[in-house]
Symmetry: C2
Subunit: 314 residues, 2 copies
């Protein structure tokens, strides 16, 4: 296995409340800030910046005020001129880019962990952009090994960095941490504990890496987003005519085969999966995706080879 | 067992979307309206009025626009003068009282079923106001017998009719149908099917009753609301410092004993139940109750004796 030397990770940020009604991240960030206040800056073995990303939406316990902030971190939106009519989230995204970026620059934060919840039964899912970010993939592998209470899956979106739209794309490495199922506007202790454990393990990995630990390469199982499927809708009103089928509900990352049930209409008819290609559904029945026209995403399982990594000596 | 003769039930209403993000009721009402359009007024054996209670909140998929409408049906609020600054829900509550009431009058609708969802693991819970409404309690008993997929529980609030604040208090009989767990803003087929079954069984009971069927009396197990418990909060910011304990989460209607865990703080400490009285918690971790300062309600199990009932002959 090839050995790759990589720069140390000097700056890490943990962000919660990018969606204001996804409460685990809000409370993880608040608890980290309380710990820092109580125990001082040396409370973690590496410096960690904590950020409440969308404070106005958190206060109102809503996903967003004007627009979904986690779609505002493209190069275009981060550089557009701000006027009196600019959405709150576009302004806030530019503030966060100034604080944690600049996106794509050498000054950018090394690692952002952006904390999210989903109403889907997705356990812990780590979402990021490329199949060749060895640091991020090594941390994913570490979390897959260490966390045993829930399944830990890796989801790769594979879009160019300029088009990448979510907060963690501002940093050099990083991922979105999705934990579910949890209703929006609710905090569950079990989901909170998994998120906190994942953050502490990430800090642990970075500290070990910076201290010279060699992390062995190998295979990382991941899922690649292929396409999205909408709910059956009334052609005129656009209102839903069916819900996710009970046999598909809560079965995120199962294998979907030709003929499997997808939807159950409100009058009782089953709609089946008609494609020949077997794929893996996820974000099944996510509350925030109704308005985006997404009943679930479909992905393909891939195997990524990652090299052994070690920190560069000065 | 005493035999009581009661008037036939001429008018029934099924109301959904009293809270705009509780989607099962919205889709049950829409489906009933579709069926009426397709099959005509005779689609059910009794006349049924269907109502989308808070159409503005449904459109925005929010609990309410200005204020919680399901607290707006007290005598005082139904008779207060409407001005330009009146909350939308107060205006709409008065409209619904004109449509389905008037509350407390002989003209009022005989039976309202108001459809709700909860994020709590409460199965099907039938909520109403008195321990002596034989029609409502007989329907509860009927649903308890017929529905086997989820637990069916009866919750009695026992407040005077003038202070009763929820939509079904406008009618002579009736209940709130709470079905969960379901995240707000999400429709689950399993929860939708239970709600639809409960409504159809209620229609079935009323039709049989009106047709002269004798319903035997007996005992009905119910829960009576005793008090509410708030989350532990920071005394200054009022922010939560703990979540529902994993051992209590999803255990609605279990028996809570001295020493049982209630909360798990964000730093990991357990808060236990300190009272001597064993009670039954419900509405555990309901999303909409954070703003009301309610982590869960506590109730007492009671046994209600109901007489045999039969419709009055003309």
């Amino acid at each position: 296995m090839a050995l790759v030397f990589l720069p140390a990770l000097a700056r890490m940020a943990v962000c919660g409340g990018t969606h204001g009604n996804e409460l685990s991240g809000v409370y993880v960030v608040q608890e980290m800030e309380r710990q820092r206040k109580e125990k001082g800056e040396g409370v973690w073995p590496i410096p960690v910046t904590t950020v409440l990303s969308n404070p106005r939406a958190v206060k109102e316990c809503r996903r967003y005020i004007d627009t979904d902030m986690n779609r505002c971190f493209t190069r275009d939106m981060l550089s557009c001129p701000i006027t009196a009519s600019s959405p709150y989230e576009v302004r806030r995204a530019q503030e966060l880019n100034n604080l944690l970026g600049l996106k794509g620059s050498t000054d950018a934060t090394d690692m952002i962990c952006d904390l999210h919840n989903t109403t889907s039964n997705m356990g812990l899912t780590l979402i990021h952009y490329t199949t060749s970010d060895w640091v991020t993939l090594h941390i994913c592998k570490y979390l897959q090994t260490k966390i045993t209470k829930v399944p830990v899956r890796v989801l790769v979106l594979d879009v160019p960095i300029s088009d990448s739209y979510s907060l963690e794309s501002v940093s050099k490495h990083g991922f979105t941490l999705e934990v579910g199922p949890q209703p929006h506007g609710v905090i569950r202790a079990d989901i909170y504990n998994i998120m906190k454990e994942a953050i502490y393990l990430t800090i642990d990995w970075i500290h070990k890496f910076n201290s010279g630990t060699v992390f062995e390469g190998g295979d990382v199982e991941a899922f690649k987003l292929i396409k999205s499927v909408d709910y059956p809708r009334d052609p005129e009103t656009r209102s839903l005519t069916a819900a996710i089928h009970p046999q598909l509900q809560d079965k995120d990352f199962c294998l979907l085969k030709h003929g499997d049930p997808l939807f159950l209409s409100f009058s009782g008819e089953t709609v089946n999966y008609k494609e020949e290609e077997t794929l893996h559904p996820f974000f099944i029945n996510e509350a925030a995706y109704y308005e985006k026209g997404i009943a679930f995403h479909l992905g393909k399982k891939i195997m990524l080879k990652i090299p052994t990594v070690r920190v560069q000596k000065d």
